[in-house]
Symmetry: C2
Subunit: 234 residues, 2 copies
């Protein structure tokens, strides 16, 4: 098995991901939202790139949909929720379809269409993603969504945790960037000591989203591994 890593949505290249297993990571907060919503019983999540698409998709049966997402980390006008995973509880999402549009995560997911399979990962389901990768035994590329097209420390350490788990359970050929993610995780197993310096963490903190931050860096509290296929995440 080979393990590689792409540092942000801006750097996704088909030649690197084609035919491989991809894990898209955006712990602050798109993939944390997706995993939480599906775990709380929503039927599916549809990632879309634009606000217009979200309204268009839901217009004939608005009550069956939850519209979620953000621009500049804030709720979009006319949407039900922003990008806070804590909003997507059972009472709200059960039996509904969530349509999600975010600045980084949904763009990364849509950019990976040439991969063989696309899993949705975050700290909250990291161990279970890693187990799935080991079971499959295929080459894997961790795609960090990043922030505004740039490398983001929070996504990097999350990939590092999954890589570290895989390397403890099996052997693999690991690229230098994936080794570095593993290195960062090994030296910051509490996660917080590293992500506290991340630019994105600072932005969310300044918006008083501390509860989101605490939740998003918890390890392995959800066992599901969502997969994106034919436009839907289930």
């Amino acid at each position: 098995m080979k393990i590689d890593l792409i540092i942000s949505a801006d750097y996704i290249k088909d030649k690197i991901i084609e035919g491989k297993t991809v894990v898209v990571i955006d712990i602050l907060r798109a993939t944390s939202v997706i995993i939480t919503a599906l775990n709380n019983g929503c039927n599916e999540v549809i990632p879309v790139l634009t606000v217009e698409e979200a309204f268009e998709l839901s217009k004939h049966s608005r009550k069956d949909y939850i519209l979620g997402g953000e621009r500049e980390a804030l709720k979009i006008e006319g949407f039900d929720f922003s990008n806070s995973p804590l909003d997507y509880n059972k009472e709200v999402v059960e039996g509904k379809t969530v349509i999600l549009t975010t600045s980084n995560g949904t763009r990364a997911i849509k950019g990976c269409s040439s991969a063989k399979s696309i899993y949705i990962g975050a700290m909250i389901n990291a161990k279970y993603v890693a187990k799935r990768i080991i079971e499959e035994g295929r080459d894997v590329v961790f795609v960090n969504s990043g922030t505004k097209g740039q490398f983001s420390m929070d996504d990097f350490i999350c990939a590092g945790y999954m890589i570290n788990y895989i390397l403890n359970e099996s052997s693999a050929e690991v690229s230098d960037i994936a080794k570095t993610a593993d290195y960062v995780y090994k030296n910051n197993k509490d996660i917080y000591s590293f992500v506290k310096d991340a630019t994105h963490y600072d932005i969310l903190k300044s918006l008083e989203l501390n509860k989101d931050l605490e939740y998003c860096i918890k390890k392995d509290i959800i066992k599901i591994v969502p997969e994106y296929k034919d436009g839907l995440i289930k």
Copy 2:
């Protein structure tokens, strides 16, 4: 001052480097060669992308030129030297022009033409590069050459050392990837403990280039800061 970092020659984008100070780093071994040759008294280094260009440039006065470089880490047929900095000693290079073509480093240098100034950095002159950046006080982007277009741990920690030096002497706004390089350096100040796991380090070791590796990870043994301008490095 803002500090950013590009992880490999494949990821250079004009919008990131335009008008800024750029430091190109390829410690194994192109920038280590350039710094060493200039320090040993060569007139200038001309980086070129192809073997043909090297022969063309030198054809009218072959004795005034040293042709150096590598493909797959090995010497090119008809060239004087490969990419080993230890070959570029005073007896050989003094008063000559070195024409250099390498897989990663020369490509990175040529790719940065939209920058305001382009300095050549490696471990062997790192502190003096950092001092120059501080003196100028302009936004800086460290451009790691990488290996075959991919992130390389050896270049990353070298940038980390320079960033660390700058942050100890002045304040700056630092991107997440640059913070991570600084983090890696702070935890591996001996350099070897980190680069020993680098893929490129392994390749050179398998070619019995241990002396090159030892030399290239030495800190601050050369005080010059070469600059690339109008096709020449002086």
